[in-house]
Amino acid sequence: MIQLFAFYLFAAIMLVAASLTILSRNPVHSVLWLIVAFFNAAGLMVLLGAEFIAMLLVIVYVGAVAVLFLFVVMMLDIDFAELRAGFIRNFPLGILLAAVLAGELLLGLGAVGKGGIALGTPDGSAAVPADISNIQAIGQLLYTKYLFLFEAAGIILLVAMVGAIVLTHRKRPGVRGQNVPRQNARRPEEATVNMQPEVGKGVQL
């Protein structure tokens, strides 16, 4: 009973939050509603018994990706009048996108309903073994059967990261950087002089 209650609670809040993500006028509110939706999706994952995916969802999406979204969106200079002005112009495009997504969703649901896509085999051979935690289950699959795909994904991410750094890196002349080892090697004797000036004379440095 508690599980049923939890499912409807998480699902309802997630749907409301997801709707408010696209309906709210203020982009910062949108991001915050998106975070609420992520969080409740993680709750649904826990109910499914996929606690590892749930935690990863919170750590990666809520803890890192959404923070960066918020970071960017917070710095936007929002002009509400301008936001509304573009609405009619982009309306057909939005409807088109929504129709495509809805079509894909229906197609996917239909395929699962007709048995076109096998989600695990009926004899349970592809299901998660009951006696090991799902971190171990994922690990055993990821580092054996899908090792090449896993490594390839890692290399693609590395290349993307290096590419982003190369594209944004620029040499500017006249920048005074910090030389940390030199700063750390500096001793008080090199930087300070102990003087005992006569009254009214001042100091020549």
């Binding site: 910062v28 590892f52 919170v58 803890g63 890192a64 917070m74 935690s133």
Partner: protein
Amino acid sequence: MTEFFGQWMPYEWAWLTATIAGILLIALPLMLSVAMIIYADRKIWAAMALRRGPNVVGPWGLLQSFADGLKVMLQETIIPAAANKGLFLIAPIITFTVALMAWAVIPFNSGAILADINVGLLYVLAISSLGVYGTVIAGWASNSKYPFFSAMRASAQMISYEVSIGFILICVVLWADSFNMNAIVLAQREHNILGIFNGFGFNPLLFPMAVMFLISGMAETQRAPFDLTEAESELVAGYQTEYSSMAFALYWLGEYANVLLMCALNATLFWGGWLPPIEWAPLYLIPGWLWLFIKIFVFFFIFSWVKATVPRYRYDQLMRLGWKVFLPVSLGFVVLVSGYLMLTRYGA
């Protein structure tokens, strides 16, 4: 505890009642200890500055925190006219709630744990990554310059240090062979070449990780010397600038609850949690929760000590330490630890 309540009611209700009782059993003493630890912090800080510290309210000033609490309760909550009202009020609640949530997976004794879940350590990471929202939302909702700067600093700082904390925790998980917090504590029993010390910290390969976790913990909880989000010489009071009365107090309590949590994590992950530090039968006569509390207090003393003695970092130094020192070193140790375990434990 579920069995205890199961005498009178069906299983599901007994579980619910037991969980709520467990939450209260953790949260209420935690609030009390936060009040006392604020007093301890002020006393330690005062002693290091050759001052007396709070000594007027109650015997030896013991009731100072409660007097402060009463004071802020009776004050008026001022909401700036230009602030985003809803978010402005939600932000301190987020900080405070998140600070309490992670305690669910801290083991206080053998089996004395509110949620004994498989992914305990990941849960801690997930909850601690939520902590930044309280600060960021406060900075944005205040609609004021200094809180906004502070929010920017907080988000960059916490993301930076979470990366190296993640790698440090992977070393612990590799050695303990589990994400479950209780299993991690039990794996530390007789963990040493001599087999008499309980704690990963006594392992030469994991000791540098323990030190780095302590320092990263200070950065993650925004304690001195990494308290750049509330650097009063630059940002007035940082994200708390516009807050007053109870909302301000919630930040205060949340901050110290977070510090206590970091101390508890240090104790649990590296120094044996509720186990006595040395494997010797008479030491087991002292209950496990007391060992944990002693270790938490030792780490809290170190936090206060650092706060009283180390000057604040510059922001570029903070970023350099996180990305150029801790990240490569912790990544190197992940390789080192997994290689060592491959050779010794799994015999490849």
